[in-house]
Amino acid sequence: MKRVQDFNVVGYNWLNKDNYIITLSSDSDIENIDPGNFAEIKVPNSPDVFLRRPISVLDVDHGENTIKFYIKAMGKGTRQLGNLDVDSKVNIVYPLGNSFSIIHRKKVLIVGGGSGIAPFIMLASKLIDVSTEVTFLIGARSKGDVFLTDEFNKFGKVLVTTEDGSMGEKGLVTQHSIFAGNMDFDHIYTCGPDPMMKAVAQIAHEKNIPCEASLENMMACGIGACLCCVTPTVRGNECVCTEGPVFNSKDLKW
C-alpha cells in the first residue's frame, strides 16, 4: 500500500562530490518495496523546490526499518537532499510505480548508467532468489563515475565501459564486445539516460531478446493524478509514474 511517511536522516555515504547514498530510518514499519519502485521525496528547507522529487529505492532493510537512496546531485533538489542534518526529518511517498519483472531465466543482462543504476541491487538480489544468473554492464564517462560495482559484484559479473577508456572497455555501453558475441541472454533490463536505453533496446529487438526499460521523466504527483509524466506507447500516452517506470521496450514509441 502507498503511504506518506516521515523518516529521519541516518547519514550519508558520499561516493564523490556529486553522488551520494542517503540512509533514512523510520520508527514504524516500512512497506514492501519491489525492484524498480520509486519514492516521491519532499525536499526540506529548500526555498526553490516546490514539488517532490522522484527517486528510485536503492535498498531497504525491514529489520532495521531503514531505506537507502542513491542520488546524483543534478540540480537544486538533489543537491539540497545531500545537505541535511543527521536526524532531521524527510517525508516520502512510496512505494510508487511498477517494478521489473522477476521471473526465472537462465541468464539476464542488466545495463545501466548514471543514476539509473539505483534499482539494480534490489533487482539482482531478487533475480538471484529465483536462480537467475545476472551480468551487469555499466557505462560511464570515466572511471570516477562508476559507482556501486562492489555491490554488483556480489550478485554477478560486472562489465564496464567508459567513454575515455579509463576503466573497462573504451566506448559506449552498446559498443561493448559482449554485444558482438552470440548474446546468450534471455532478458535485458535497462535504466539510465534515454539515448543509452534506446540503443540497448534497439540491440535487444534485433537479437529478439525481451527488454525492460525504466524511464525517467518530470513528475508532479508520482501517483497518476496529474497526467504530467506521460510517454507515448503503442497504447497511447501512458503515465510513467503508474504504468511505469518500467516498460516493455517494445511498447515504447520514443
Partner: protein
Amino acid sequence: MVNLNVNIAGLNLKNPVTTASGTFGFGEEFEDFIDLNRLGGIFVKGLTLKNREGNDYPRMAETPSGMLNAVGLQNKGIDYFLNTIYPKIKKWDTEIFPNINGSVVEDYIAVAEKLNDVEGIHGLELNISCPNVKEGGMAFGVSCPSAMAVTRAVREVYDKIIIVKLSPNVTDITEIAKGVESAGADAVSLVNTLLGMAIDAHTRKPVLSTITGGLSGPAIKPVALRMVWQVYNAVKIPIVGIGGIMNATDAIEFMLAGSSAIQVGTANFIDPQISIKIIDGIKEYCSNNGIANVADLTGALIT
C-alpha cells in the same frame, strides 16, 4: 461542535473542502492515503466527449511556488467515465462532480446530456477556462458572449447543478461571472490556471511542448483571492474558491473572501493527505474562534 456543512445552490456538502479537477485523478489515486468519504466533494479529471491523448511530453514545469501544466485534457471520453470509472467510484459517500470540456458548444451539450440522468451525480463543473487546448477551452471563458452561450446551451439540457469554472486570464472577471449567472449557472468556481510560460535558458527552448501552459499553486493565490472577492461582490450565486490553497488558513481566507466551498488542487501533489488536514484545520479554526457554522465564514471579511 462545529457544523461543517455548506450549501451550494441547494446541494449540501458535508464540508467545504473539495478537490480540484485534474489534480486528484478520479479519487482512486488517493485511496491509499486518505478516507475519501470525508471529502466535501471530488471534482474529477476533465472529461470530453471523445477520447483525447492530450499534449506531448513535457507537460510540466516547476516554477517559483507553483507549476505550469500542459496536460491538454487527456482522458478516455465521457462514455468510458460513465461505464468504467464512475461505477468504481460512486461507492464513496461524497459528491462527485464531473468537469466537462469541449471544443465546440455541441460537445459540451453532448457530454452534459449524457450526465443528466446519472443517478448520484448532482452537478457538473463546466470548464470554460482550460488554457491547454488549441481549440475551444479557454477561448469560451475569456469572452462574455461565448461564456454565456455555452452556459445557456448546457443549461437547456442539464437539470441539476451547473458550476461554471471561470478563467483568470481576463480583464474583468466580474463581467464573465455576471454573464454566466444570467445565463443560468447555479454557481461559479474560480480560478482555473493563469496562462504562463517557462524557458530553459540552457537549451534556449520552452520547457513545455506547448510553449505556454497553466500556472497553479501558491504563486497564484493572491490573484485568485482577489478574483473571488470581486466576484462575491458582483453575483448572488455561490462561489467555489480555487487557487494555491495549501493549508487550512488559505482555505479560510478564500471563504472570508466569499467562497462557499473551496477546491484543493496542486497541494495534493505535495501532500496527498492535505485535503483531510485542511478539513481538520478548518474545524479547529472554527472551534478556536467560536464559529458554530463554517458557512458563516463565507464573505465574512471585515473591511
